[in-house]
Symmetry: C2
Subunit: 245 residues, 2 copies
Amino acid sequence: MAKTAAIIVIGNEILSGKTRDENSVFLAHELRNLGVDVRKISVIPDDLQSIATEVRDSSSTHDYVFTTGGVGPTHDDLTMHGIARAFGSRVRRNPELETALRGYYPPELVEPNLLMADVPEDAKLISRPGMWFPVVVEKNVYIFPGVPEILQRKFTNIREIFRDDPYHLVEVFLRADEGQIARILHHVLDQFPDLQLGSYPYFTKPEYSIKLTLESKDTTYLNSAHTLLLDELLRADLHPVQPVA
Amino acid sequence: MAKTAAIIVIGNEILSGKTRDENSVFLAHELRNLGVDVRKISVIPDDLQSIATEVRDSSSTHDYVFTTGGVGPTHDDLTMHGIARAFGSRVRRNPELETALRGYYPPELVEPNLLMADVPEDAKLISRPGMWFPVVVEKNVYIFPGVPEILQRKFTNIREIFRDDPYHLVEVFLRADEGQIARILHHVLDQFPDLQLGSYPYFTKPEYSIKLTLESKDTTYLNSAHTLLLDELLRADLHPVQPVA
């Protein structure tokens, strides 16, 4: 069984349509490539109870949870307190993080500069060479900032932690209507119930109007399903096309 | 009080990082411009029980729910059945939708072409000039397809249903560190607790390093909060800058 993950994007600016969420797109793509099955993405407001509820629910139903956003020093940065509340934990100043912040800021730093050292008291820290501030982890929840450049750098630094058997993907492109192939797809799934099979219509591409995606971690299983699908399509006089790259 | 909305994006292709979700971005932006407060965006898999649970929870806690995806004729199109299950309703073939489909497809259509006429039995239909297929609505759940061009056309056709008093927005740009302004923001919120106030750090812009967003439906309230904020910033010797457009 693949490990499962939930991604929680914390930020009013996404919900109000002012900022486009880049982080869930990046994480979903990366995790898939690592062989992890992302089962849910949630975008929630900068609200303590919303964060606590979503984190608690996601943590109990997924192997990994990734949060993005809400870790700065201002009033709308409630992620650490929300995660602590999710687990009945307390927020405490972490000495290792305080040292990192004091090294980063000039000596005349103001007290709020240290707020990023306040994390759930039983949180773990993951450090890697080249990271001046560690990744904070509470239970199975990996806590990332909302700034995409920083999130991407930090995740890339620690991603090998999550690597699992890869997914294999085969795509089939058709000029057809989805109604024409619905029964064929059902039949393939009857024979290969563990196949991840997607069917996507396109209305603006000249070369094809359906993309089928077949995925599995088991290449033998995937190839057998692919062979059956092609057989059934040809029997229905439907011939896959090669899209222009 | 603003009306609230949840957006539910249904589709394995988003969770597996193969397709970028354009629909929640479009809907969040549109709804905000209409004066509607989007409180949650969820991306969930093509799975009957996941759809039913998410729709039921979102419907009971928001004024409007918008779903995208999963409305075609293939095995992974489970939205109508998921929504019916959410409300203990049954899926039935709708005669008006069947007529629309028979008008769209050539006479030699196959039975699965008609599957898009199968909707929750108490669903309502919203038709507008220029739409060959109506928008299906079950309770407070507005059901849209996943293809962005079609979703956008349909939503634009019916958006006036949702129009409410607009939000007003003021932005303030600063060259500063968030730690420096944390107390000022707290103080403004103490005086204006209903202000929607966001603080966003930027690490790659030459002109500014913080964007503050102030929002309210009440312009007098917004302007008073804005004036107080500017006063407090100037007193701390922090001078707003004008970003290059």
